[in-house]
Amino acid sequence: MTAQFGSTASVESGPVTKDQTNGHGANSPVSSVQQAPRYRAPLDTAIIDTDIHIYFPTQDALRSYLDESWQDYHRTFGQRGFDGSHYPRAMPNAARHDAWPDDGTPPGSNLPLLQKQLLDEWNIEVGVLNPLVGAGEQRNLAFGAAFARATNEWQVAEWLDPEPRLRASIIVPWEDGELSAAEIDRWGSHPGFVHALLIARTKEPLGRRKYWPMYEAACRHDIPIAIHFGGAAGVPITGSGYPNHYIEDHGGMPQTFQAQVISLIFEGVLQQFPTLKFVLIEGGFAWIPPMLWRMDSAWRKLGSEVPHVTEPPSQLFRRHFWVSTQPMEEPFKPDQFRQLLGQLDLDDRLLFATDYPHWDFDAPDRAFPVPLDKERRRKFMAENARALYKL
């Protein structure tokens, strides 16, 4: 078969001309950022937001949920994580400027404001809380476990109890599989918790056996494991050392997600735990098709090293993984986004997310760069999440 493909790029390297942008239409700093009105989708479906961030309003508020001995510890030593791996964000708390409560407490720490700006404003039927407060990144694992438990109790008392539209994440001290399993067992039958939450940049690839007790507990309670953007675990944030800038930290997160998927699949987690489900949150999704093609190709040639992987990686991925939408990659042309959805073949697995209150918030009517048919809108905006989380 001969399928032509068109291109306008020039063979010679050198000065870039307008012709080389393949629909991007940009040749100078000013003209290159498109300011045209963005496509707005009709808000004619239910909306479930699978990525909302909440924070303790003060350190005292956190301490009030810790046992007394850990209160003293926290007052004296604070939180001790993997220093030297953090990048200053482009804006305070990586938050929308309008998301700061009047009393100066952090964005995402004030329920009435969150209700007003997110749940009421966009008529969100259910919102899933993913608190990124640091419990899993404590070098003192016992303190991490206490911190995780305090975070979970705080979610119940101050968010789930007063606001029935919200669901919570079981926070775990993920670098210790046994302690994490205990925390999942503590909350696994509470109807307000819908998944256990990990961060993308763990100390080791998540397929490694030290993490398996946590997966066993998740299977016991039939709750998914969610892996969220971010983290700092004391190893360079690329496979080739530390970059300089936040844009590389933020824009490079898909490489971390790919490393985790490769690990979970090739290290045999899905054969060991055939009912386990994973949710990839805030990693985008355009990287998924090429990663799966490469994994399938590698498995065809090198599969003898991992005899526990008995079916193509792409098949395992499509059975065990769900993916949130934000921040979604934006192709140069609308058709390319539709091509991406076709290559992805995950119509039942994409979960809408706003990422409130962060700066790269996706509004429900402006998240998708192109019009989608009603059936896809229903699935992506709510029904896939409803089915996964049994809402």
Partner: protein, 340 residues
């Protein structure tokens, strides 16, 4: 349709063993190598028995005769990529001497014996000043067309510490070839050490992606407008998704990196070329055609066999191309990029 003449941008000429380099090492390092247990760089990019390392009937480390017999049919020019990882030798002076020895060996055993071949300068890139000296040593030799860097490094390649390398390469009209592999001593993923070779192999594409982000976002192409970078043996089907993501990042965060003046995808298109193997192709040729179209691949891809490494059949790609596109990918792009 007869095949156009091909320029093969990835043929491997590997050092059989450390003893091969003895005739080219200074006495001091020769004694050191003989007296110590040093056995050469410990990078394990191509374990000899692993199925991807050599295709059926070929050797993991082919000699010139094998390359001439098996890899040069229909090939007008072949570009050699020696994957000897002097960068994983911690002693930087020894690494530099090893690099010189490798390059001398390439001249004597390959370039002087086969006029259709070109080679890549091996450099101790973990010490950019020494690497620049090595580039200066060979830069005027017409047989060398690029400087080869392993994709795994101590720091991403957009970092200014590497500027002496780029400066020396640009001055002599050499391309930079970023190639699969390397052993800088830290993990190959952003999340620690995986257990299996297959994870290192599948995950190598992510390191290429990180390098592209770094080169663009740390301003390497603004500092060196003439810098040409070939991404070798890292796949290419991921390129559209990376362009989309980083262009979007740039819209939100470009005030942090004001020297990145144009959308990142423009730098990628202007300065990067990618070899076609491994294809990492989708099972559906329509999806491959979409990927080619999305990134304007006809101007970005360089034909490569990656001999002797074993990959999927390249015909799934070549069959999608028009005669014009085929001519570009099989030879014209490489001719322009490497100034052949």
């Amino acid at each position: 349709m007869p095949d156009p003449t091909r320029i093969d941008c990835d043929i491997h000429n590997e050092i059989p063993n450390l003893e091969t380099l003895y005739p080219y090492l200074p006495d001091h390092w020769l004694d050191y190598c003989r007296e110590s247990a040093f056995n050469g760089p410990d990078a394990a990019d191509y374990p000899e028995s692993v199925p991807t390392t050599a295709r059926e009937g070929s050797s993991a480390k082919p000699d010139l005769a094998e390359v001439q017999n098996c890899a040069m049919q229909d090939v007008e020019i072949g570009i050699l990529n020696c994957a000897y990882r002097v960068q994983s030798v911690r002693n930087e002076d020894l690494a530099a001497s090893l690099a010189t020895a490798v390059n001398q060996w390439q001249v004597e055993h390959w370039l002087e014996k086969e006029p259709r071949l070109r080679a890549s300068i091996v450099v101790p890139s973990h010490n950019p000043a020494l690497a620049a000296k090595e580039i200066e040593r060979w830069g005027d030799h017409p047989g060398f067309v690029q400087v080869i860097l392993p994709v795994r490094a101590e720091a991403p390649y957009g970092n200014r510490r590497y500027d002496p390398i780029y400066s020396a390469a640009v001055k002599r009209g050499l391309a930079i070839g970023i190639h699969y592999g390397g052993a800088p001593g830290h993990p190959p993923t952003p999340t620690g050490w995986p257990s299996y070779f297959i994870e290192d192999y599948a995950g190598m594409a992510q390191i290429f992606q990180s390098q592209v982000i770094s080169l663009v976002c740390e301003g390497a192409f603004e500092r060196f407008p003439a810098l040409r970078v070939a991404l070798i043996e890292g796949g290419f089907t991921w390129l559209p998704s990376l362009m989309w993501r980083i262009d979007k990042e740039w819209k939100g965060l470009r005030h942090n990196t004001p020297y990145v003046r144009r959308p990142p995808s423009e730098y990628m298109r202007a300065h990067l070329r990618l070899t076609i193997q491994p294809l990492d192709a989708p099972p559906n040729p329509l999806h491959l055609a979409q990927i080619l179209d999305q990134c304007g691949a006809e101007d970005l891809l360089l034909y490569a066999s990656d001999y002797p490494h074993c990959h999927d059949d390249q015909d799934i790609l070549l069959d999608l191309l028009t005669a014009d596109q085929r001519e570009k990918i099989c030879s014209a792009n490489a001719r322009a990029f490497y100034r052949l």
